[in-house]
């Protein structure tokens, strides 16, 4: 192994460098300079994201523990872009609420550590690396959920999150140990060759899947989601719903398509039922929500059900549609969460009722919210439509028409509750509507980036075609 091969870990090294620079900054800055950490961290992450658009070769490190290829690299760049948008959206919240308490740089460090965890998790070549990545993703987020320390609900959310993740990690680890017991290896590649559908292997898989299902908040492992989202600061809820969920979906897909390929007849049925349950649970509960954070929590549960449709076709098409949908979903959800964040930091209002008459006072924000929600609902010509339609295509390509039918019924249900928010903003008139306000510059940048993603990622087809072309990299 030579020094150059370390460059395969370029994205990870970049994040580590940012972390180190942030620590140095934290040590050597005095109290007045603390606020400068915001532009500093944002610029560093922007540079790292921009570097992600340079090509990178595929390869393995540490005897196969760490591997990277075009698809993983693309996904990491997408996640990094998502985090950049998210941090832009939270910059003003940090400036107003957190800098005084001297915790701004910690916020960045925690988020970037968690992002680093997702990188290791999806790049893992064996279960050990995978587990380290998983924990590195989860633990900083638990601290972040409790970031509003003066709010009881935030601490409560953090406790719920840490307890349920500990349980989930335990279940996953137990599953891994059973799998190790049947195959005698923890490497993905060799396990894929040895694994047979023995009862022990199936049991191991089920435990492992339950652990991961917690992270993706699939029904029936979704109970923590709404409470944690409600308690967490909005940007942390947003992080949970897009970045950590997206990464967990990707690694689940990779494992199902490679390591557990021999168990396909088994997991196929499990996923089939989980998809239906997740979509119905998410959608039916979302209808009743008033608090927008809980609302988006249930909506993101339902979206996870849609994402899994791509798993039904165990091929390049399924991979491409999942990666594409996750990318699109990141933009759409960040758009919605961004607006909630903007409104909340101006007025502390988070309920759907409070949004009544918003269009007449804040037309641009309402418009963006509508775009984001329509994209989540799958209305053309927004990106979400293409994402969803392609997921249907992936499931239909293997003949699961009934499943697709259930999914489209759910898409219609979801349209109903997304329209409830649109109704509040556009249709209702309200004397006490939230008055006009101008969002600060970072927030506007974050929102504009999300809007561009929503508008462009669908109609501009080369994005999908590129994802498709790199999607076969780990299948053979």
């Amino acid at each position: 192994m030579n020094l150059e091969s370390f460059l395969l870990m370029r994205s990870e090294i970049g994040l580590l460098a940012i972390l180190l620079l942030l620590i140095i900054f934290e040590i050597f800055s005095n109290k007045k300079q603390k606020a400068a950490v915001i532009p500093f961290a944002l610029i560093l992450l922007a540079i790292n994201t921009a570097l992600g658009f340079l090509p990178l070769e595929s390869g393995e490190l540490f005897g196969g523990m760490f591997r990277t290829n075009a698809l993983l690299y693309f996904f990491k760049t997408t996640l990094s872009l998502g985090v950049l948008i998210l941090l832009l959206q939270s910059a003003d919240w940090l400036k107003e609420k957190v800098v005084d308490e001297n915790k701004a740089s910690e916020f960045f460090m925690l988020i970037i550590s968690s992002l680093l965890g997702t990188y290791f998790m999806i790049s893992a070549g064996d279960f050990l690396m995978f587990y380290i990545g998983l924990e590195l993703t989860t633990l900083p987020v638990a601290a972040l959920v409790a970031y509003d320390t003066y709010k009881r609900i935030s601490a409560e959310g953090a406790v719920k999150y840490i307890l349920s993740s500990a349980l989930a990690s335990g279940a996953a680890l137990f599953g891994i140990s059973l799998l190790y017991a049947t195959t005698g290896t923890i490497y993905f590649e060799s396990m894929a060759e040895i694994l047979t559908s023995s009862n022990l292997a199936i049991l191991g898989f089920v435990f492992f899947f339950s652990g991961l299902a917690f992270k993706i908040s699939l029904a029936p492992f979704h109970f923590w989601t709404a409470d944690v989202y409600e308690g967490a600061p909005i940007n942390v809820a947003s992080y949970l719903s897009v970045i950590s969920k997206g990464a967990a979906v990707l690694i689940l897909m990779i494992l199902l398509f490679t390591v557990f390929k021999t168990l396909m007849p088994v997991w196929n049925k499990i996923i089939y039922i989980v998809i239906i349950a997740t979509m119905f649970v998410g959608n039916l509960f979302a209808i009743r929500q008033q608090n927008l954070k809980r609302f988006l929590a249930y909506s993101s549960i339902a979206q996870a059900g849609f994402i899994l449709l791509g798993l039904m076709s165990v091929d390049q098409l399924g991979t491409a549609t999942i990666v594409y949908f996750v990318a699109v979903y990141i933009f759409s959800n960040l758009g919605a969460f961004g607006v909630v964040q903007a409104v909340s930091s101006f007025s502390d209002k988070e309920n759907i009722n409070d949004y009544e008459g918003l269009y007449r006072t804040n037309p641009k924000l309402s418009l963006l919210m509508m775009l984001a929600l329509f994209s989540l609902a799958g209305i053309p010509p927004l990106a979400g439509f293409f994402g969803k339609f392609f997921l249907y295509t992936a499931a239909a390509s293997k003949g699961y028409y009934i499943l697709v039918f259930i999914a489209v019924v759910n898409a219609t249900i979801s349209l109903y509750y997304y329209l409830l928010v649109v109704r509040a903003m556009f249709l209702r008139k309200n004397e006490q509507a939230i008055p006009y306000f101008k969002s600060p510059v970072y927030m506007r940048m974050g929102l504009i980036l999300a809007a561009i993603g929503i508008l462009v990622a669908g109609v501009y087809s080369p994005i999908y075609d590129y994802i498709f072309s790199i999607s076969n990299t780990f299948l053979n």
Partner: protein, 496 residues
């Protein structure tokens, strides 16, 4: 830029112009009227260009263009028109332009109103020019979703509920449709070719009959919900009653025609065996819809509801004619779409004008309007007569062709159904004559109505724009029906 893509691009440009330049009502309507005027001129030009092109071009579609969009799925932006799409495009342009004139005085959020209206129109135009299933589906949904805002913000009565009901039912239908489209797509390689969304490539393929039997009803219902197929028509009366005038005009006049068009061009054309196997079932539903809509209209007290149920009846007649599987009936179906589109738009415009002045739509409270509003009254009577099929107007030509075509069928079941459906003409006469007689003739019902303002120039312009084609089709139907019949040839070859 080719002649067809402009129909999508011009509305988008107008929307952008409205977004950035329109400051108030005057500027918004000026931009809209100029833009829609251009659109109208383009569609007149298209008719003549089509006739000229047709003389030299014998392809199914003319002015075709094909650009790869999503390479991996073999999705193309492919466009082209035949006579059916040309007349539908012309209808859309007329109704839109008239709709802009009728909305001259919209006071609440005028800019947004015109933006939504014109964004919707780009979806409609895109739908009519597409020859690729996926692209068509995209445009179809673009045409439906602005309806929610249009009814919800500018509507009247229980507008929020009506808007929600309409949007959910139509989007639910389009969700079902998407399963049908996927089914067609994944069977388009049945003969060993590549998977494709292109309508005319799929039309060369013999899709297995078992698959056709499954996906035909999905596709059919997906489209027919917006074409007011019984029992999926329930969104229509409440939606039309709550919508603002221009939106009712556009929706009943144009958007509901997307249903018949889609049923014909997608469901029946691509899945011919499925169409034949399911024909009787849907025939009964549509025949029932004709009668049910007509009787429903008789029972209504609100002018808009009368017209909404009448639309259900007349559009079920379109589906009925399409399911009769012969050239005459199909020609009749297209003529009926066209004629109903114009007439129902006129009706909604007139109802809007009466309502704007008297602030009531209840038939029992209105009377003798003709005396104070002679222009509106006269047009109302003309529209009514045309609607119930008086010779000399488009309604007669259309219904006559439908019934002649339907009766050509030798089998007893269809003949009996036809006879039943024909009887709806009588019911139509009942509700139209009763309504027109009650509100236009007789003594003035309310002294306050004496000083109602006369029709303004923009109202007159809107109405006359719609009336001219009604009379043209009524007096000179032959050229039009010949043009349509030519374009039915590929359908005949595939379906019969």
């Amino acid at each position: 830029m080719d002649i067809l893509s402009l129909f999508v691009i011009v509305p988008v440009l107008i929307v952008l112009a409205l977004t950035f330049f329109a400051k108030d009502l005057k500027q918004a309507r000026l931009i809209s009227v100029v833009g829609m005027g251009i659109q109208f001129a383009m569609s007149i030009n298209l008719i003549f260009a089509y006739i000229k092109e047709r003389a030299v071009n014998t392809g199914i579609m003319v002015f075709t263009k094909d650009v790869v969009w999503y390479e991996t799925f073999n999705i193309h932006y492919s466009i082209g028109v035949d006579a059916i799409s040309v007349v539908m495009i012309a209808l859309t342009s007329v109704v839109l332009l008239a709709g802009v004139f009728i909305s001259w005085k919209i006071d609440d959020l005028p800019k947004e109103f015109f933006i939504s209206l014109i964004a919707l129109s780009s979806g409609v135009f895109g739908f009519f020019i597409s020859t690729d299933l996926f692209t068509m589906f995209v445009f179809y949904e673009i045409a439906v979703i602005p309806m929610y805002l249009l009814i919800g913000i500018w509507g009247s009565g229980p507008k929020e509920n009506s808007a929600m009901k309409l949007t959910l039912m139509l989007m639910g239908a389009s969700a079902v449709l998407s399963v049908g489209i996927l089914g067609i797509y994944f069977n388009s390689n049945a003969d060993g070719g590549p998977l494709t969304f292109n309508i005319f490539e799929i039309a060369q393929v013999n899709i297995p009959v078992a698959a056709q039997n499954i996906f035909y009803p999905l596709t059919f219902i997906g489209f027919a919900v917006i074409g007011a197929l019984f029992p999926f028509h329930t969104w229509s009366p409440s939606g039309h009653a709550s919508a603002p005038t221009a939106v009712s005009m556009l929706h009943a006049g144009v958007l509901m025609k997307l249903g018949g068009y889609g049923v014909f061009r997608i469901a029946m054309y691509l899945l011919p065996e499925g169409a034949l196997n399911w024909a009787d079932f849907f025939l009964i539903l549509s025949a029932f819809g004709v009668i049910y809509g007509a009787f429903g209209a008789v029972m209504q007290k609100d002018l808009k509801y009368v017209n909404a149920y009448a639309s259900v009846s007349h559009l079920s007649l379109v589906l009925f004619a399409l399911l009769m599987f012969n050239k005459t009936a199909w020609t009749g179906a297209i003529l009926q779409s066209l004629s109903h589109g114009l007439l129902t738009a006129m009706f909604f415009a007139l109802i809007g004008m009466v309502y704007g002045r008297t602030h009531t739509r209840e038939i029992s409270k209105l009377g003798g309007i003709m005396k104070v509003l002679p222009f509106i009254g006269a047009i109302y009577v003309i529209t009514g007569l045309a609607y119930l099929g008086l010779p000399g107007f488009s309604g007669f030509v259309a219904e006559m062709t439908v019934f002649v075509g339907a009766f050509q069928h030798p089998d007893m079941f269809r003949r009996i159904l036809t006879i039943v459906v024909v009887s709806s003409i009588v019911v139509t006469a009942v509700y139209i004559l009763r309504m027109v007689g009650k509100i236009m003739m007789g003594p003035l019902s309310n002294e306050e109505y004496k000083d109602l303002p006369k029709a303004t120039w923009f109202e007159k312009t809107g109405l006359i724009l719609l009336l001219i084609p009604v009379i043209l089709i009524g007096v000179l139907p032959l050229g039009l029906s010949e043009m349509i019949k030519e374009s039915l040839q590929p359908f005949l070859e595939r379906l019969l």
